[in-house]
Amino acid sequence: MSADSSTAVILPAPAAATPRTAPLAGVLVKTGHVLVGAIVPLLLLALWQHAASAHWLPVQLLPSPALVYASFIDLWQSGDLTSNLAISLKRVGWSLLLGGGAGLVLGVLFGFSRRARAYLYPTFEVVAQFPVIGWIPLLIIFVGIGEPLKVLAISLAVIVPVTVQTTKGIAQVPRPLLDVARVYRFSLAQTITRVVLPSALPTLFNGLRQAVMQAWLALVFVELLAAGEGVGYLMVWGRQLLQLDLVVVAMILIGLVGVVLDRLLAVLEHRLQRWRRNAF
């Protein structure tokens, strides 16, 4: 640890301090933060470039940034990058729909039916803690290694957090609210949209966020294990043919998509919170 050791440094000040400053100053501070945050990546890039040009490591262990960039452009222009990415995103999309839908149904079932919870939740709880990838060899036997495998495996990764969070979210709905709904003779649909959703939403959204992360994790695994298309397949190709630049390109792509998904979810969460405030 270095000289910045006063207690003030330890305090979580910046988040609270920013809104109080003037807009221009806020922008400047923000830009400053971005610039500071960029120092390490730039240093790493410089180090990488230097290491590559000084041949600290053989090229098969460390391709130069220029080669990675060239491969990136090459793949982009040939359309391989976008087509593979589109396929991967499609897989994730379908799985989110399928797994998310199944998870919602299960979660609602567990949330509302005490009997379903008593009979099925213990089993679910145990099975939910099986690592997703443990299922994959068995799935391969039953559905092969085609598209169904990918969608099923990723769906399995999605079901668990969605079910758990939905159940939790419904359990957290204040009882009096439900009683009121009963008194007003709300239909099930009305109860869900007017009472359950608004109060369970943050938890449900948490489930969605976890689901997206899990889906992206499972996707890369299945594509590495058995695939003919997708970003994971790009890595397989690079790995099999000792072209590390392709592996790095795919990693960057995977990271970029991760960042974009994360941002999207943040924006969505913000929107939903606004809607929720209005719904009450």
Binding site: P58, V59, Q60, L61, I140, I141, F142, V143, G144, I145, G146, L149, A226, A227, G228, E229, Y233, V236, W237, R239, Q240, L241, L242, Q243
Partner: protein, 361 residues
Amino acid sequence: MFSLKTLRGPLARLALALTAFSVTVGAYAETPPTVIRVGVATPKTGNPPAFTVGPVGVAYTRGLIEEEFKKDNVKIDWVFFRGAGPAVNEALTNKQLDFAFQGDLPSLVGKAGGLNTRLIALAGTRQHVYLAVPPDSPIKSVKDLKGKRVGFSIGTNIQTPINRILAANGLTERDIRVVNLSVEGIAPALTSKSIDAVFSWVQILPLKDKGLARIVFSDHENAAYACNSGVLVTDEFARKYPQTTTRLLKALLPANRWLADPANTNAYISLVAQMGFPEKTLHEDQDGEDALLQSSPLLTDYALSLYQGVADDAFRLKLARTRVDVKQWADRSFLTAALQQAQLTGFWPTLDNNGRKLAAK
């Protein structure tokens, strides 16, 4: 490398004798390393797991290399790679191996990618390629593969023949949907019908016998489609331990010699059957093969021309970054010395660029 043709007559004989003498003397001068790390681009299969195929498999089963280095207390560390040739390249990259028994394409990809290796002998030639489909598949010929999901192990020595077979039928890899499969994943993928077809080696034949697959194409008619594999040594090891390198090759030669005798073919097939293949299948695969030619470790002009063809294809298909000059990469000196020490010089016929036997000298 110098060519033997330029050295004729008594002078040449003298030179050869001197070389042989220096090699013999040198053999006692070199202390071999305590461990020799040998990588094999084939996983063990069968129950119990075995690796018995080709001269290397025979040598491994009989402990020939261990025998050779017994008196020096050298441990031979064998590593068998489930990930086949590409995984061997990763191990070579990490300097985890001294020798590798690896298919032509991955070894060329490794060389092109910057691995400092030398090709010092042939480890296997004319491994046959099969195209298999589920029994009820509508695929009747290679041409029908267009748009279909086709599985094979990317980066192994099967990929070049596949590209040639496709090209001969007016297709490229882009016309099919390639699915990367591990060597062990091929059969389950086909039986579960999750892919439309697979390209594989002899491993696929048992499925045909069980009625789980139909062979649409095999390369028996065209030698250009068969796969080859070689013995590689890292440049570092070859420089540091030239005599040890020669001794390792010399230790393999009795296995080659045994395989060369057609009288041993049945015994060999029983041995390979330990890897989990029915003998019937193996007889079918080996049908019509010339035991002498197939057992040859020689890096003949023909063998090198096959390797060069793979190198050119790999470069053209962007499987490799640079075009390897096989003549520069191959190093015949260790094998020449080993054959001399084993008194097997001239036992295997040399072949010209077209695979024709050259008249024995």
